[in-house]
Symmetry: none
Subunit: 424 residues, 2 copies
């Protein structure tokens, strides 16, 4: 079954708002087993909207609309789709009651133009909106279905989960479930070499997505029920664990920061950070995880050399001899952060985030990572390359989170050297 | 002139990533005076992509593509659009050189399949990508134009600003110029009350965009040449300065962080940060500005009470008596950060970012801001409200950046109290 997402609203065409509904609907439709082959955005213009609906009816089994269900005259989605599906709108007193109750709960009286929102399909149906005034409605004709949802995500998402999804799943013989793997330390092209054959499978399917210094693999299986689909995902995931297990940091949509916080909590260890080029990005990512305070107490943003000396005890000589961007300084920063914070583990970053400041010996994108646990101190050279400042910082921070996680779990840090092996 | 945005990528159809490119391109095209009437998303499927291109050529003057310029076999955007525009691809050694240099900067050799990215239009043209390997390319036929950009936002956005925008503006009879005002400290509904009439103007137009604790106003004027358009923007901006001047922190797309760094540099002052609930977000935003090292050397992420004591000298009694989220602690953190860093100015944040940890007296969304300059210490209560953790942290960080900027420039901080007026 194919599906098409049609988002209605001039504010999307003008770029005034980000289209988070398209992403939400795309994910949920994929999880239900629909092939979403097209997404469209059209404005509040009846002729262009009608053309979009008629085209979508030619090529897609299910049409999902968001937006254009408001009370004002330019909200025309319902009327336009009704015409295309050969349906008509009728006044539904039960919806009007619900709208009046909604306004009463906010201490307001119902504006007259809200009667428009109480119109529902004569042949199709509707779902009550617990978080707003516009009900969701559906139409059906010639084996095609359309579902129309209100635009605000706070209304669309609960309506989708509670009403539309059960409606669409009724009578389906197959369900889809996904399992997500998070990887760090392996590049996209290396992953393609190592795992490429696993991405060309029918059921389960597997797909890879790249972020700076991170990869996500989504495995999706179709089966008669949820338990069987999930079991098939788990089985298939074993292939990835076998070939690339050392790069997999966790399952689910959790992200590296959460995997690290969980590893620390599980081992009962605490972490400190020392950041130069990332300027607080690592600590910011860690503290974005609710509950991070159990394992993280101290972060040092040592942007200036003076701060590296004063807060972390990095030697003046070390800085003078090797420069701030050096393995010696990265090691001293990590060891110093652990000591100053009284933390079990510490990670440090010092590098050239650009756009200026690069030299032939130390180009933009060169970052040294330090990682300390007790007496063990490691350093790793990151060559992130000639990218924009934000990407370099993001990639460096991901490497630091992964290195910390590895130290916590007693895993090797690929490509790292022991600090004692670097010349003083 | 009409424009259409076509985003290519199966990951968008699956909802794996949020389509931020569509929003960026929509805004920039609107600012250039294009009417964007359609947006489309299609997967990496040549037949469906070709159908989308042919349809767009029927109804739009300019086609802007993002994505599908990668080195792998399923990246087919260039080839497909070339066919529709009656053009062909040719190998361009200069692009290959730049790709090799890019890989060399990351310490890797260039994979063979990257030769595909060195193919450029025979009749159309190309723009070098300073942040990646895929150049932007353009095609032209029968009065229609297509511009193809690489998908990663860190590559697409700089390419658009530096190369595509000047290219599209060449030869236009009417040029559009925009002037962006950044505001902090005024809410969206208050702005609508105060400034609403200014957003209903024909030329220049003005539009407002809301971010947590920040507003952006974009003024766009059409005129025969750039100088006249910019003068019209400047004139119109005076209305905003007259009515809301105290909230305007700067002009351009620079953001609060850049306005702060510039103010510090202009006054020859240095800044330190002390962060609890934001965990490094403030220092991360400051150091995202190239050149921040001139004015920022020390950041303290004091997530634990022990860190507040040890690094900032916050008194054990103060913490015990008032709790970490209190004006007394915010004031002590700011004063302590300035002292420990030897900085002229310091800002501090301590609050409840949620989702847990709220109480009736100290609910989620309550944040205390401290700001110190010499002997002057101020505190401000922020009631950010029951929002998600990321929004609370972002809004708190924006308030801190703005308070620091005001202290640096000798401006009052609206709603702030002097620390000496709070009970001990």
């Amino acid at each position: 079954m194919t599906a098409e997402i049609i988002c209605v609203g001039t504010e999307l065409l003008l770029g005034d708002i980000l289209n988070t509904n398209a992403r939400f609907l795309a994910r949920r439709l994929a999880a239900l087993g629909f092939d979403v082959l097209h997404q469209q955005v059209v404005g509040d213009n009846p002729a262009r909207l009608e053309a979009a609906v008629r085209q979508a009816m030619e090529r897609s089994d299910l049409l999902v609309f968001s937006g254009g269900l408001g009370p004002t005259a330019d909200d025309l989605t319902k009327e336009t789709v009704a015409r295309c599906f050969g349906d008509e709108m009728r006044y539904e007193p039960a919806v009007m009651e619900s709208i009046r109750a909604f306004f009463a709960s906010t201490g307001r009286t119902t504006p007259a133009n809200n009667e428009k929102q109480a119109m529902v399909p004569a042949k199709g149906g509707w779902f009550e909106n617990p978080n707003g005034t516009a009900p969701a409605v559906w139409f059906e004709a010639r084996g095609r279905r359309a579902v129309l949802l209100p635009g605000p995500p706070g209304e669309l998402e609960p309506l989708w989960k509670s009403a539309v999804e059960p409606f669409l799943q009724k009578g389906q013989r197959r369900v889809l479930k996904s399992l997500v793997l998070g990887l760090c330390g392996i590049g996209e092209s290396h992953a393609e070499e190592l795992l490429g054959h696993l991405f060309r499978n029918e059921n389960p399917t597997a797909a890879v997505y790249a972020k700076p210094a991170e990869l996500t693999i989504r495995i999706t299986a179709a089966a008669p029920d949820e338990a069987q689909a999930l079991a098939a995902c788990r089985d298939y995931a074993q292939n990835f664990y076998r070939l690339a297990g050392q790069y997999i940091y966790g399952e689910g949509e959790q992200g590296l920061e959460q995997a690290l916080v969980e590893a620390l909590a599980q081992k009962g260890l605490t972490l400190a950070t020392a950041e130069s080029c990332t300027g607080g990005l690592v600590s910011q990512r860690i503290t974005a995880v609710p509950g991070a305070s159990e394992v993280f107490g101290f972060g040092f943003v040592t942007y200036a050399n003076e701060a590296k000396q004063k807060l972390l005890g990095v030697g003046v000589d070390t800085l003078a001899k090797h420069g701030a961007v050096s393995p010696q300084v990265a090691a001293a920063m990590a060891a110093g952060a652990a000591r100053a914070a009284g933390a079990d583990v510490a990670v440090a970053l010092t590098g050239i985030a650009g756009p200026g400041g690069g030299t032939p010996e130390k180009p933009v994108g060169l970052v040294w990572l330090g990682a300390a646990r007790g007496d063990q101190v490691f350093v790793k050279r990151l060559d992130i390359g000639r990218r924009d400042r934000a990407t370099i910082r993001r990639a460096a921070s991901s490497n630091a989170l992964d290195a910390a996680r590895r130290l916590v779990l007693g895993l090797p840090i690929p490509g790292a050297l022991r600090a004692q092996d670097i010349p003083e």
